[in-house]
């Protein structure tokens, strides 16, 4: 960390922002408490997925796009399946939908528990990381790991493995899990639900800087239940549209300081937000009674606009995911076909699901033999980049009186509020705050 006080310019640097998935950079300049420039710099080496999908078969994106992110592969698999099934005019049966939702619950549990305990909580409790935190709070870290493991166990049983599951295919699955295999998980899921409720109570007691986020929220909203694997798009300003229309509303653009495209909604210059805060604020009425009570006890209203409280919302979503997984396991019936045929046809298809970090859109264009002509993937972290930058701007203006180390740490925390999936987007996060 360097601190170079000169006449009117001070620079403070943290080499690598820790405890995010991947590495990237941030740059803020301000003078007299006014921010003059703010950039979330994303250096993730471009990997060109959309380009090398061209010319490949329509059956491949579930396996190929999973490799965009080791933390949320199920999100990529699910969004790609919906989009390709849409292109081919195939609708999957209820049993497949249930299996997709169950698999997805495992990913939410694994990813959110990782973020809450290993990446985010150390900020609030004053540690460099969870390993250091375990020296004083071993029970807490063990609880986080136990929850994470329950999520990974669910992914193993339904998907074959937790990182890049092998069981997902177009039209469904290669093999359906059996009721007895799922029931064997039940004690771990029950323990997980209990642990998740304790987690909500724990994180609700953290100190949160006051920050109100005025931006538009966007998430999916299904016909019933909390949005996880499916739904229509809704926003906080009351817009609602079908996933098939997402390219008419969401526009991606390329800025110089980031290797991830930014996105804007309906041509607005204002940022919009996807992820737990948006999902919760647009769908709190859809939570199970258990999760809704936990949210109320944690002091969450029907809408949450403080990004620092995202850790509480994430914990509530883990409660919902365990609760939902238990429901799906209890209602599970054997004997359904694992998949339906998806014959290729020429056309364009759209799909979306709620990755742990927010809405993940896919679009594919196929020829009549199912060869991919065009592919488009809009990950949550790209959509959230402008709002991360807007939060940093607000925050630095509000707290420019803090010393540099404290302000820098608060900036890091503000970035971690989004649980940015930098592998969906980033490589090297250099945090630079310039005061000039």
């Amino acid at each position: 960390m360097t601190d170079e006080p000169t006449d009117d310019r001070r620079v403070l640097t943290v080499g690598t922002l820790a405890r995010v998935e991947g590495e990237g950079g941030m740059h803020v300049e301000y003078r007299d408490g006014r921010v003059t420039d703010v950039q979330l710099r994303i250096y993730e080496p471009p990997r060109f997925f959309e380009a090398f999908l061209r010319g490949r078969s329509y059956t491949e994106p579930p396996d190929v796009t999973a490799r965009i992110c080791g933390i949320c592969p199920v999100a990529y698999q699910t969004s790609s399946c919906w989009a390709l099934e849409d292109a081919c005019g195939v609708s999957v049966p209820d049993a497949v939908r249930r299996a997709r939702r169950l698999l997805y619950c495992g990913e939410w549990i694994e990813s959110h528990s990782l973020h809450i305990y290993l990446l985010h909580a150390p900020d609030f409790l004053g540690y460099d990381g969870a390993i250091e935190m375990a020296a004083d709070h071993r029970g807490l870290v063990e609880r986080g790991l136990r929850m994470k493991k329950a999520g990974n166990d669910l992914l193993d049983v339904v998907g074959g493995r937790s990182v890049h599951p092998v069981n997902v295919r177009l039209g469904g699955f290669y093999r359906m899990p059996l009721r007895r295999e799922l029931l064997a998980l039940r004690p771990r899921l029950e323990q997980g639900l209990e642990d998740a409720l304790a987690t909500v109570a724990l994180v609700a007691g953290f100190d949160f800087p006051e920050l109100e986020q005025p931006y538009e929220y966007l998430s999916l909203r299904p016909e019933t239940g909390y949005p996880i694997e499916d739904g229509r798009v809704v926003t906080s300003s009351g817009t609602s549209f079908d996933v098939r229309d997402f390219t008419r509303h969401i526009e991606e653009f390329h800025v110089e300081h980031s290797n991830a495209l930014h996105a804007r909604l309906d041509g607005s210059p204002e940022p919009y937000v996807v992820g737990p805060l948006a999902r919760y604020s647009l769908n709190a009425d859809r939570l199970s009674d258990t999760a809704r009570r936990a949210a109320a006890d944690a002091g969450l209203g029907a809408v949450c606009r403080n990004p620092f409280r995202s850790i509480v919302v994430r914990a509530v979503e883990v409660v919902e995911a365990f609760h939902e997984a238990l429901r799906l396991v209890d209602e599970w019936q054997d004997g359904h076909d694992p998949s339906v045929p998806v014959p290729p046809r020429a056309g364009e298809g759209f799909g979306a699901s709620e990755a742990p970090r927010g809405t993940l859109f896919h679009r594919y264009v196929l020829d009549d033999e199912g060869v991919i002509q065009d592919a488009q993937i809009v990950p949550p972290t790209s959509q959230n980049q402008p709002s991360v930058e807007a939060d940093l701007r607000t925050l630095v203006q509000a707290w420019h009186g803090l010393d540099h180390a404290a302000l820098t740490h608060r900036c890091e925390q503000a970035i971690r509020n989004y649980d940015p999936c930098i592998s969906c987007a980033t490589h090297f996060l250099d945090l630079t705050v310039e005061n000039r």
Binding site: T16, L17, A18, R19, V20, E21, G22, E23, P45, P46, R47, F48, F49, A51, F52, R54, G55, R56, S57, E60, D63, V64, R67, C69, G70, I71, P73, L114, L118, P122, D128, G129, A130, I131, E132, A134, V141, E142, L145, R146, K148, K149, N152, G160, R161, S162, V163, H164, V166, N167, R169, Y174, R175, H254, V255, N259, L261, V371, S423, H427
Partner: protein
């Protein structure tokens, strides 16, 4: 599995060995596998000193490091330099996963035109800094051990760490997935159902997952030590796969691994999409 540290190692300082984890172009899934060792993580953190692991901690201990785990492939001019620095500060360098070991899925660019790829994805390709090929770590520095898999297997990862701590060679089998199927009692999906499978040419390590889920192996652990890829390709053809499909099954997450690269190129259409003859590594 025990990961007991040696308190003294010849020529090295006392105390637990230091561990560093580095990321290059990748999906994060292999280093996540380390954090997925939920039952072992805290014991591991006692057996080694986690000295550099940005995904897990802000704390940084200065190098040099006893063991470096490297995830990801080399795809940018900056990373060409950074991997040299990583090698310099690492007593033992272990690559984890298909990206670091074989270039990963992003090595598909090696078979295409990067200028075209760039313009497909990005409106302003001039903002990007990228190499025309994705290459494994071993193309640039000496590597002490390469752990396969897309992603790596967590038990194998723990074995590699245990071996590094105990200063011995890791016990990682290099035989095919077929052996694992036999061992777990999975009926051969090719023989019983005519399902195309890369098991005979793919290295074990996943536990023969795909056949247990009634699908053919898709080769995510890369080539086994004596692969007869040409023979498997013939069988894939007999099972109904077109030449272009045979090319593509060898050209995924380990596309630049030599035996898979050679076999895929034998099945290239004369002027297919996204393919070019001199491709390769």
């Amino acid at each position: 599995m025990s990961i007991a540290p040696e308190t003294t190692r010849p020529g090295h300082r006392r105390g637990p060995p230091t561990l560093a984890v580095w990321k290059f172009a990748s999906c994060d899934g292999c280093q996540l596998t380390l954090l997925n060792c939920e039952d072992e993580l805290l014991a591991l953190a006692g057996a080694v000193r986690i000295a550099y692991f940005p995904e897990a901690t802000r704390g940084v201990v200065e190098g040099p490091y006893d063991v470096s785990l490297v995830e990801g492939s080399i795809t940018t001019p900056e990373d060409l330099e950074r991997i040299q620095q990583v090698r310099q500060v690492s007593r033992r360098l272990v690559t984890i996963g298909a990206c670091a070991t074989a270039g990963g899925i992003q090595a598909l660019r090696n078979f295409g035109d990067v200028a075209e790829f760039r313009s497909v994805v990005y409106a302003h390709p001039e903002y990007l800094s990228t190499l025309s090929r994705s290459t494994p770590i071993s193309a640039h520095v000496s590597v002490d051990f390469e752990l396969r898999g897309c992603p790596v297997d967590k038990t194998q990862l723990l074995e590699v760490l245990a071996a590094a701590v105990q200063d011995r060679a890791p016990r990682i089998p290099s035989h095919s997935v077929c052996v694992e199927c036999k061992r777990r009692g999975t009926v051969c999906v090719t023989v019983a159902h005519g399902t195309p499978c890369l098991g005979p040419v793919t290295q074990a390590g996943c536990g023969a997952l795909c056949p247990a889920f009634e699908r053919g192996c898709y080769g995510c652990f890369g080539p086994q030590d004596t692969p007869n890829a040409a023979a498997v390709a013939v069988r894939l053809g007999e099972l109904g796969m077109a030449e272009a499909e045979v090319m593509r099954v060898f050209r995924t997450f380990n596309a630049a691994a030599e035996p898979f690269r050679q076999e895929s190129e034998r099945h290239e259409p004369v002027a297919g999409p996204g393919t070019r003859r001199e491709a390769g590594r």
